[in-house]
Amino acid sequence: MPLLEIENLTVQYHTLRGAVQAVRGVTLSIERGRALGLVGESGCGKTTLARALINVLARNAAITGGAVRFDGVDLLQLSGGALNDYRWRRIGLVPQAAMDSLDPVYPVGVQLVETMRLRGGLTPAQARERAARLFALVGLEPTRLRLYPHELSGGMKQRVVIAMALALQPKLVIADEPVTALDVIVQHQVLRTMRELQETLSLSLLLITHDISVVADLCDDVAVMYAGRIVETGSVREVFAAPQHPYTMGLRNAFPSLRASSARLVPIEGYPPDLASPPNGCAFAPRCPFAVQRCWGDDPVLMPTGGGRLAACHRAMEADVLRIQAPQAFARLEAIGSQAVEGGAPGGGIP
């Protein structure tokens, strides 16, 4: 049984403009001891999804359907107190922008110890000892325990937050853009630390990011998210070597590779849809160079495509052919501009 099973989760925000469907039926699972990367551009609902798993959402957000099964138990059905038990002890979260997640008026060691004492039942001495060990684990000198957050660099603060997430030895750690705010060299160091931790502690990791190179570096499996839905899943190697969804193909073209230095970067033309009024058909259709008539009216469902992989595309079976055409197809779209009109002419590509 997978450690975490998300089934058709939907989350809505109530804004002044109306209800925004941030998460529109996400189905996902994470196996024990494996790292899953969740990739998508900003605004696709990744952070909302992460926070929904432990139900720490903004005041105007609400989970409107679905199930989140952790070790078989549906967290969404639990009462406040029972769910709180899972928080941190079994599921930890490394939030985005770690720099703002630490209380500025207490030293970081105090905050770490507080977590362990209040939620882990440790004595002050035990907690202090474990705090020092945790710091060593994430690559920080224990002398830094008495420093205030503003006395630490961004990378160090990130490590502190990672240490805090591990404090109660959870089985699953959700990391939301853990290295985005850091410079490249520090990124690499932190990622390496996380990989080591994940292996040493046999953690399950849900890594959320918009940067596929991070996923390639760190994760075993990957799920690609677009406009509040999962559009493709599979192992990292398979999905990046042979993507089955046009969005994934576009992403791969859009990211620079140090090796293939002469390949031109082709961005995905256009913008994600407005989730206050989600489209009827496939959400990616306006930006997809392979969209056909069917795509505009019929929303594809995430379906198995063999070998344990899933993809939400009507043309997933033709993926091998489309993949080869992808660079030119996307380049052509870039030249003529995306088809923003709904039900517009099908894009280029062999029908």
Binding site: R87, W88, V105
Partner: protein, 328 residues
């Protein structure tokens, strides 16, 4: 830490500058009065030798710039001359009334801030409810009502109708105490203190209440509070240890500032309740044209206020680990 030190150093120099400007203003106002410039220090009814002594002490027969220098040096030493009415040295008069003002101000402030911090936190916790919607205007009403009017209402009700409290002064006439401390600790003094302190506290609590509420609400929206929730910390811990602790910073600063400002505003409360403090002394001295006393009272009030502004900055820099140069 270098940052904190340089910040405080610049604030200190600013403080000294403002004090100097106020002293100079004082000098100019009292010298530029119509009529005999000597009239600021010498009452014609003083004896000739006293007049001579004052003339020399304040250099009143010297050119203006010398007078200014003498004035400043006297000021620093606390020398203001003699009261026209009581003939006592002004500094003695000040010593008698300053403690009363401090006691009244501090007790009112402490009460106001205690109530305000709790009230503000409660209002923040009751966000979006009926209690908040009407609570805030109620607090605003306490700041809108003139202090002296509330004082009059309090007197009319609690003093003249119910006879629970005396209506004027700090002590009953004819009472005597061995030391000032004995007086302050006496039941009689406390009874006299109650109405003025409560009236002043009612007025003062508006600021800490609204400030605490507003900072609490801001803090509760911060990321680190969300992180506390993610960690599953109990709501009470979050409110008290994290939110309130962060929200207190501005309130504590306001407290220090409050001492300064309310000393200036005490004038009204002291007049309504005939409380023998600096404010009342200033008003009576100005009305009676007892200039030495008026100068001294005004200057003392200004000094307390300016010094407390600096103390507020000092407190803030100590409490906030992040203080930097540019604190607006």
């Amino acid at each position: 830490m270098p940052t904190r030190f340089s910040f405080l150093a610049s604030r200190l120099s600013q403080t000294v500058l403002v004090l100097w400007v106020v002293a100079t203003l004082l000098f100019l106002i009292f010298r530029l009065m119509p009529g005999n410039p000597l009239v600021a220090y010498i009452d014609p009814n003083f004896t000739a030798e006293v007049q001579q002594a004052l003339l020399r002490q304040f250099g009143l027969d010297q050119p203006l710039h010398v007078q200014y220098a003498v004035f400043l040096s006297n000021l620093v030493r606390g020398e203001f001359g003699r009261s026209f009415f009581s003939r006592e040295p002004v500094s003695q008069v000040m010593w008698q009334v300053l403690p009363n003002t401090l006691v009244l101000t501090l007790s009112a402030l402490l009460l106001a801030y205690a109530v305000g911090v709790v009230g503000g936190a409660l209002l923040a916790a009751r966000r979006g409810t009926w209690a908040e919607a009407w609570g805030i205007p109620a607090v605003l009403a306490t700041r809108a009502a003139p202090e002296f009017w509330v004082g009059m209402l309090a007197l009319a009700l609690f003093s003249f109708t119910l006879n629970w409290f005396p209506s004027s002064g700090a002590t009953s006439p004819g009472s005597a105490y061995s030391t000032w401390w004995a007086q302050v600790a006496s039941w009689d003094f406390l009874r006299h203190l109650t109405l003025p302190a409560l009236t002043l506290a009612l007025y003062l609590q508006g600021l800490p209440t609204l400030l605490m509420r507003s900072t609490m609400l801001e803090v509760m929206d911060e990321d680190f509070i969300t992180f506390c929730r993610m960690r599953g910390l109990p709501e009470r811990t979050i409110l008290l240890r994290h939110a309130a602790r962060n929200a207190l910073l501005p309130v504590v600063t306001a407290f220090a500032l409050g001492i300064g400002y309310s000393i200036g505003g005490n004038v009204i409360i002291e007049t309504v309740f005939s409380w023998p403090g600096l404010g009342r002394t200033l008003v009576r001295a100005v009305a009676a044209k007892d200039y030495p006393v008026a100068q001294a009272a005004f200057f003392l009030i200004a000094v307390v206020m300016i010094v407390m502004n600096f103390v507020a900055d000092l407190l803030y820099s100590l409490l906030d680990p992040r203080v930097s140069h540019e604190r607006q």
